[in-house]
């Protein structure tokens, strides 16, 4: 009704006006504009489904934050998203919701997007291919090559949806943004091509915030919910041990019964409900109205019967004529607390994007920074409140400061690392990094760009070794001599590679942990022909594969009977041994090292216990790591043994000192027997500690996972493979593609871990099985047409 008041003639009924006119005419609320600008124009938005533009030259239009978007399919089948605005005079180009450019239009040539105003023409990628009177009108001042439609970031993923981000440089890639949240339904929605068969929209007279709050607090009582990074939430109907839901088949089967909703921030829901996939997307129109689009999807290959069955189900649940259950009048207190925490998770993310602090304080990034006398930026100027000191700026330490800021922490943050240069990712160091030739470190391997630390007001001090901790005074002493007070201390000191005594101080003998190690190996490799690698673990094997690519002669020596003896199953190890041998690596197992020999202080050869001598230009030792806990142990913080071992922590990653946390490779939870050295573990434990410090909700712990790249083999592993356990056995499952295989480890009938070679789809299924505690029948798993997800065996 407020719209009517803007009209000179008050008698005009607001319902005679189209939505877009309403949006344009309404004096928009400032907060709404801000929300559109900050959130919607920077998020990944599923604008349509690929089946809505099935053929080359098909298009579909949409809008994000009141900007017009057109999605087209190019002749090569690729989907592009463009701004639907003519670069000539800014007019809207295509007005239809959907159609094809294949045939000519009244004012347009075939296979071209033509602006009806002055007939500029564009191809399906947005390149300008014709400008009327180009030469006559513009002479050489202008060239059509410079006048394309603005290309938008666009990806097709998660069941064939077309995701567009208005920001050319989105904060995160789509996969990172939503991959984890979608992991529980990815295999179901990607197993066969889907198409949209139902579509309708509705405009609700509710503001966006209120709509989200209502939606999240009305989630059913018996729902299992898992929160994910970036404000996403995944709910599963029925409790985890609901046998009925488990026994039932899953989508795309028309008899599916299970029910999972993936709710993606800022407001898109993917509901796998029984035999149907319902997707709702929101477009806020103003501060009081939101348009919701509903899509129902079904497999393209459906027969008539299956289609009818799904259609009936969909209409009853999601169609415009669906019945709405009378809401339960009473909610018990526990439920509303649960529901509130889901809303809080969403709302935290909202605050982050809006740069607002939950307690009304100014967000960190808004504070002006100042420079100290010597001209250095002082990240802490203007900050007060508690000081958190972090020891170690690698995967765990950096993930911690990231999380704690995201949780709204506004105090001071200082991170110390003894390394030189910006903190780098470790996994590439044994892989692609070794193939590079330069002497400097590529910025793409940096964990975070320099600006990120500045923007988040994190003081990063490299080349600064933390020498002592005083837990009584709550101080640390740094190699510069500075004594720094802390309120909370986070130890993320990682691990140190084991060395063999003979190699100490020897030239051309290396271990690999830090970027500086990788740099040194890379340079030595450029001047060497042969390399001897001691240790057939993941790092040794990855280095072997990388150096083979450089055509070096490579020998791997492993004392155990097989490679990967501590971390992988035998069938996988056998396969990888063959892979390395096929690639020309000499793999020696079951043989020890007797001595390591040098000539003039430079590595020369290894003498094996068998008496054999292996000569080489360089040596790399990869025989495992031990936690770098000396600093903690000397400060009296409890470690596995008096003289070292991992730092023991509780489930919140708190050490024996209540203000001190430990995360990443250096930490071991008291209730766990085995440390898991992986990036995933570093990030997860960091998030747990950050939640404990800020009092936020702790993330849900996922089944541990790990990956490794060797030659053209991508290995993905989920769960921990029990070693030397006689009750554990593996079943091999051939993949659909050539060279793809997975090894499923069982103890009795219970699935414990899965290792996957070149088969990401199976990896997703395996992860889903382990995350939801399902054990597909070991007798059947070797049959590639048997679906592990549908089998439903529940794990005890």
């Amino acid at each position: 009704m407020d719209f009517v008041e803007n009209k000179p003639n008050g008698s005009i009924d607001s319902d005679h006006v189209t939505i877009s006119e309403k949006v344009a005419a309404k004096a928009l609320d400032q907060a709404f504009i801000e929300e559109q600008k900050r959130i919607f124009k920077n998020s990944w938005v599923p604008v349509c489904h690929e089946s809505e533009l099935p053929e080359p030259y098909d298009f579909r239009t949409s809008s994000i934050g009141n900007e017009n978007v057109i999605v087209c399919r190019a002749p090569d089948g690729k989907i592009n998203a463009l701004l639907n605005v003519c670069p000539h005079r800014g007019m809207l180009i295509e007005r239809r919701p959907q159609g094809s450019f294949l045939e000519g239009q009244a004012s347009g040539n075939p296979k071209r997007i033509t602006c009806m105003f002055h007939a500029w023409q564009f191809d399906m990628r947005g390149n300008c291919v014709y400008v009327a009177r180009e030469k006559e009108g513009y002479q050489d001042r202008f060239c059509k090559d410079d006048a394309g439609l603005r290309r938008l970031r666009c990806e097709v993923n998660f069941g064939g949806f077309v995701w567009v981000n208005m920001n050319d440089q989105p904060a995160v890639f789509l996969e990172e943004w939503a991959g984890a949240a979608f992991s529980s339904i990815q295999s179901q929605i990607s197993s066969e091509p889907l198409e949209v068969v139902h579509y309708h929209k509705e405009v609700v007279e509710t503001g966006y915030q209120e709509l989200m709050s209502q939606g999240l607090s009305s989630i059913d009582n018996d729902t299992d919910a898992t929160i994910f990074d970036y404000g996403h939430l995944v709910t599963t109907q029925g409790s985890a041990d609901n046998q009925d839901a488990k026994k039932g088949k899953s989508f795309p089967s028309p008899n599916a019964a299970s029910c999972t909703s993936v709710r993606i921030f800022p407001g898109f829901a993917f509901n796998l409900d029984g035999p149907t996939l319902h997707v709702s997307t929101i477009t806020p129109l103003n501060d009081k109205q939101v348009m919701i689009e509903h899509r129902g999807l079904a497999p393209q290959a459906d027969n008539k019967e299956a289609r009818h069955l799904r259609s009936k189900y969909y209409n009853e649940k999601f169609g415009p004529f669906r019945l709405q259950e009378l809401s339960e009048p009473e909610q018990n207190e526990l439920d509303s607390v649960k529901a509130n925490s889901w809303y809080t998770h969403y709302y935290d993310e909202w605050l982050r994007w809006m740069d607002k602090h939950p307690n009304g304080e100014t967000r960190i990034v808004d504070l002006p920074t100042s420079r100290s006398k010597n001209g250095e930026v002082d990240e802490h100027s203007g900050l007060s409140g508690p000081h958190i000191v972090v020891v170690g700026a690698s995967h765990a330490g950096v993930a911690f400061v990231d999380k704690v800021r995201k949780n709204g922490f506004v105090g001071r943050l200082t991170v110390f690392d003894r390394q030189v240069g910006g903190p780098m990712e470790r996994p590439p160091l044994s892989k692609g990094f070794l193939l590079g030739g330069g002497e400097t470190v590529e910025s793409k391997s940096l964990l975070r760009q320099k600006k990120w630390y500045k923007n988040n007001r994190i003081k990063l001090k490299t080349q600064s070794n933390v020498e002592t901790i005083d837990t009584k005074k709550k101080t640390v002493t740094v190699s510069s001599g500075d004594v720094i007070n802390y309120d909370n201390l986070v130890i993320a000191s990682g691990a140190i590679p084991r060395e063999l005594p003979d190699t100490q101080g020897m030239g051309n003998a290396f271990t690999l942990r830090q970027p500086s190690d990788a740099n040194a190996i890379r340079q030595a490799a450029n001047n060497s022909d042969t390399v001897v690698i001691i240790g057939g673990g993941y790092i040794g094997l990855e280095v072997a594969a990388s150096l083979r690519k450089k055509e070096m002669t490579v020998t791997v020596i492993e004392a155990a009977e097989r490679i990967l003896a501590r971390v992988a199953s035998k069938p996988l190890a056998d396969r990888l041994t063959k892979l390395h041998e096929d690639n020309g690596v000499q793999v020696l197992t079951g043989v020890g090292v007797d001595s390591i020999n040098a000539e003039a202080g430079i590595f020369e050869s290894v003498t094996l216990t068998s008496g054999e001598k292996i000569v080489g230009d360089m040596l790399i030792t990869g025989i495992g790591v031990f936690p770098d806990s000396t600093l903690a142990a000397s400060a009296g913080i409890e470690t596995q043994r008096k003289d070292g071992g991992a730092i023991l922590v509780d489930e919140a990653m708190r050490t024996s000192e209540k203000d001190v946390f430990a995360v990443g490779d250096v930490a071991l939870r008291r209730d766990q027997l085995l440390a898991i050295e992986s990036v995933h573990n570093a990030q997860e434990t960091a998030a747990v500690a950050a939640a404990a410090v800020t009092g936020s909700i702790a993330p849900t712990i996922q089944t541990p996972w790990f990956w490794s790249d060797q030659y053209d083999v991508k290995l993905q592993s989920v769960g921990v493979v029990p070693i030397n356990d006689d009750d554990v056995y593996q079943v091999a499952r051939p993949g659909k593609r050539e060279g793809a295989v997975s090894f499923w480890s069982y103890r009795g009938d219970d699935l414990v871990a899965v290792e996957v070679v070149n088969d990401p789809a199976t990896y997703m299924e395996a992860r889903q099985c382990l995350d939801t505690k399902q054990s597909p029948d070991p007798e059947q798993i070797s049959n590639p047409s048997f679906s592990p997800i549908d089998s439903g065996g529940a794990r005890s």
Binding site: M1, D13, D15, I19, S51, E52, R60, R96, P97, Q98, V196, V197, H198, Y199, H200, K201, E202, V203, V204, E205, R295, S311, K312, N315, G319, P320, F321, R322, L323, Q324, E325, L326, S327
Partner: protein, 173 residues
């Protein structure tokens, strides 16, 4: 003989068409009143009802709602257990075509239908109740079975043009 064939004439063409038209209008009145019993009386036991639409957005024919007589009766019984908008609907129907089959046993017709909603419930019923607004536009595609000169609905497809349907009713339009 003559009089009998005259009767047939009356029953099978103009008269039947008139009866069909009347049946369509009676259905509109019954539906406007939510008088399901009266509406069902106009329907044969084999009656099948659907609401469909073509979406140019996805380029597909869609079914929004469907059910046979038994399912519809079941639905009507369930209505009180669900949240529905109580705003009455007002159907404006014009019969455009009626085609009676050669044997006079069945007929098909197309009518235009415009449905207004007379607001009762609202976000703020204090303000909204009493206002009328356009709810849905479309066409009825009806099929009849004619027994002893009495036409009864065997199929109604309500083909609506709307794909934007805000909160509304859940019963047959």
């Amino acid at each position: 003989m003559d009089s009998e064939s005259n009767d047939m004439e009356n029953n099978s063409s103009a008269d039947i068409e008139r009866k069909i038209e009347k049946t369509i209008y009676q259905a509109a009145l019954a539906l406007d009143k939510n008088n399901w019993a009266d509406w069902f009386k106009l329907c044969d036991d084999s009656f099948f009802y659907s609401i469909t639409s073509f979406s140019p957005e996805i380029s597909k024919d869609m079914t929004y709602f469907s059910g046979d007589k038994k399912e519809l009766i079941g639905l009507m019984e369930m209505l009180p257990k669900h949240n529905t908008d109580h705003s009455p609907l007002h159907r404006h129907t014009s019969v455009y075509t009626i085609d009676v089959s050669d044997d006079g046993k069945t007929a098909e017709s197309v009518s235009s239908v415009v449905i207004y909603q007379n607001m009762l419930d609202g976000i703020n019923s204090h303000l909204d109740s009493g206002e009328s607004r356009l709810f849905v536009i479309g066409k009825y595609h009806d099929k009849f079975l004619i027994n002893d000169g009495v036409p009864k609905f065997i199929n109604r497809e309500t083909k609506i043009d709307n794909r934007r349907l805000d909160k509304g009713s859940h019963w047959p339009l």
